[in-house]
Amino acid sequence: MDDLLTDLGQALVEGSLSDQDLLARTGGPLPVQILPEANVIKVGGQSFIDRGRVAVFPLIEEVVANLGRHKMILGTGAGTRARHAYSVGLDLGMPTGVLSVLGTFVSMQNARMLNYLLAKHGIPFIEPAQFAQLPLYLAERGAVIFFGMPPYVYWQQNPAVGRIPPHRTDTGSYLVSEVLGARSMIFVKDVDGLYTADPKKDRNARFIPRITVSELRAMDLQDVVVERAVLDLMENAQHRRSIQVINGLVPGNLTRALEGESVGTIITVD
């Protein structure tokens, strides 16, 4: 026995990583919260940034007003241009991994645009390779912007149905909040939260202020307000076990959500 290694270390070096008993031993105490003061905010693409100035400018003002009070890590959605690229790409036979690359480009465009609107406040846009600098930027400037797509590119998994990348900007933003042990995960959209149906299409859609992932699964909705992968990942999460979806078109909602108030739909895991 090598006494430099813990028992677990020895078991990991010698054992099989597909052994459930060994894997269970790797759970340990909760991981450290890397940035427990940070809030991750996902700004919708189609639902928000594509609306242009009328939606984006007030939100930018609200972000600026919260500088110094709340640390914010802003992820961007992709939106209508990603849908266009996906449509053309699907017609051309592009695999899911290539569609993921295309989605990344669009969410990067949105991140760059938000970056220029916040530039005078010294807020940087960082790519995945620059995440090591994120803590410094957050400490110095109080906010950073990243593109919401997880950097899976060609390694994006196929969905069970269809070919659209299943892990898009909701998932990428959520995983940032989970791995950093962030204080909150707020999805800024153009609807008040989760409804029993798409409120843009169905006038009878009923609002749901608070729900658990298992309740949501039991409802088996045709459409949901966040990527289904987020719900799957939440069930395995160590830290970020609740998320809030808010209507960013309503002034003050982001601020109230940052204060910990419930202003949209809160989704939790039991």
Binding site: G9, V13, D19, P31, P95, N158, I164, D190, K201, N236
Partner: protein, 273 residues
């Protein structure tokens, strides 16, 4: 609330929720194969690279010979160093995404060692930052390439259901690459003949299972598998790959036979064929 004033560009998915199941179904269709002639091999970390010269040199010799016939994309595992950094990282309380990020360096080190040994044949390790985008160029300009099998999940790795070990490691990286690029085959080169009825390292009476489906593997709930369990999910959803083969690299001749399309280890196949 029905009409938005968003600036849309016209497309089939223009006003659709990509989360709508019906919309999801409408996006199914034929997938273009980028590299239909290339074969992907994952060279095990602990099983091959860590075993040192006596195992690696004969494997390299066979690979060098195969490179005269086939275009090879060679991924490497991280092996014992990855296990070690996992154990230290877990002890320090670091989350799965951080474990995935730091572990990538071990497989990359192995890629560089394999690339060094294959450099007389024009095959080198490609930096991960450019590997995916330039892969078709490399494949058409060189007999093959080496990459760290690690998928670029990094901080965005999924927290697993049990424990904290990153579920998408180098088998998954090699699989996803072969699927996305529409490669001809995926072979996992390990130190066992394939999947057995029990772990052959613990139970000498374990018998080799020559071929098995994903559903059958799930049904039999083996205590261990000689590949990353997440491959079962990935194979279920694959559109281009319908199988992979596990071969024993300690019998290096089998690598060549596997590339010839011969059945020399365990073939795991998808149920929808």
């Amino acid at each position: 609330m029905t009409e938005t004033n968003a600036y849309h560009v016209r497309s089939l998915l223009m006003r659709e929720s990509l989360l709508d199941r019906q919309v999801e179904r409408s996006t199914e269709g034929a997938v273009f194969r980028m590299l239909p002639e290339a074969h992907v091999l994952k060279i095990g970390g602990r099983s091959i690279m860590d075993a040192g010269r006596s195992v690696v040199y004969p494997v390299v010799e066979v690979l060098a010979d195969c490179l005269k016939t086939w275009k090879l994309i060679l991924g490497t595992g991280g092996g014992v160093r990855t296990r070690h950094v996992f154990s230290i990282g877990i002890d320090l309380g670091l989350p799965t995404g951080v474990l995935a990020q730091v572990a990538a360096a071990d497989a990359l080190g192995n890629a560089h060692m394999l690339g060094t040994l294959l450099s007389p044949y024009g095959v080198v390790a490609i930096p991960p930052e450019i590997f995916g985008h330039l892969l078709p160029l490399f494949i058409h300009s060189a007999p093959g390439v080496v990459f760290s099998g690690v998928p670029p999940y990094s901080l965005w790795e999924h927290p697993p259901g049990v424990g904290r070990i990153p579920p998408h490691r180098t088998d998954a990286g090699a699989f996803l690459l072969a699927e996305c690029f529409g490669c001809r085959s995926l072979t996992l080169v390990k130190d066992v003949d394939g999947l057995h009825t029990a772990d052959p390292k613990l139970d000498p009476s374990a018998e080799l299972i020559p071929e098995i489906s994903v559903a059958e593997i799930r049904r039999r709930a083996f205590p261990t598998l000689p590949f990353e369990p997440v491959l079962l999910d990935l194979l279920e959803n694959a559109r281009l790959l319908d199988r992979f083969q596990i071969v024993n690299g300690h019998e290096p001749g089998r690598i060549r036979e596997a590339l010839e399309g011969r059945h020399v280890g365990t073939i795991v196949h998808a149920d929808r064929r």
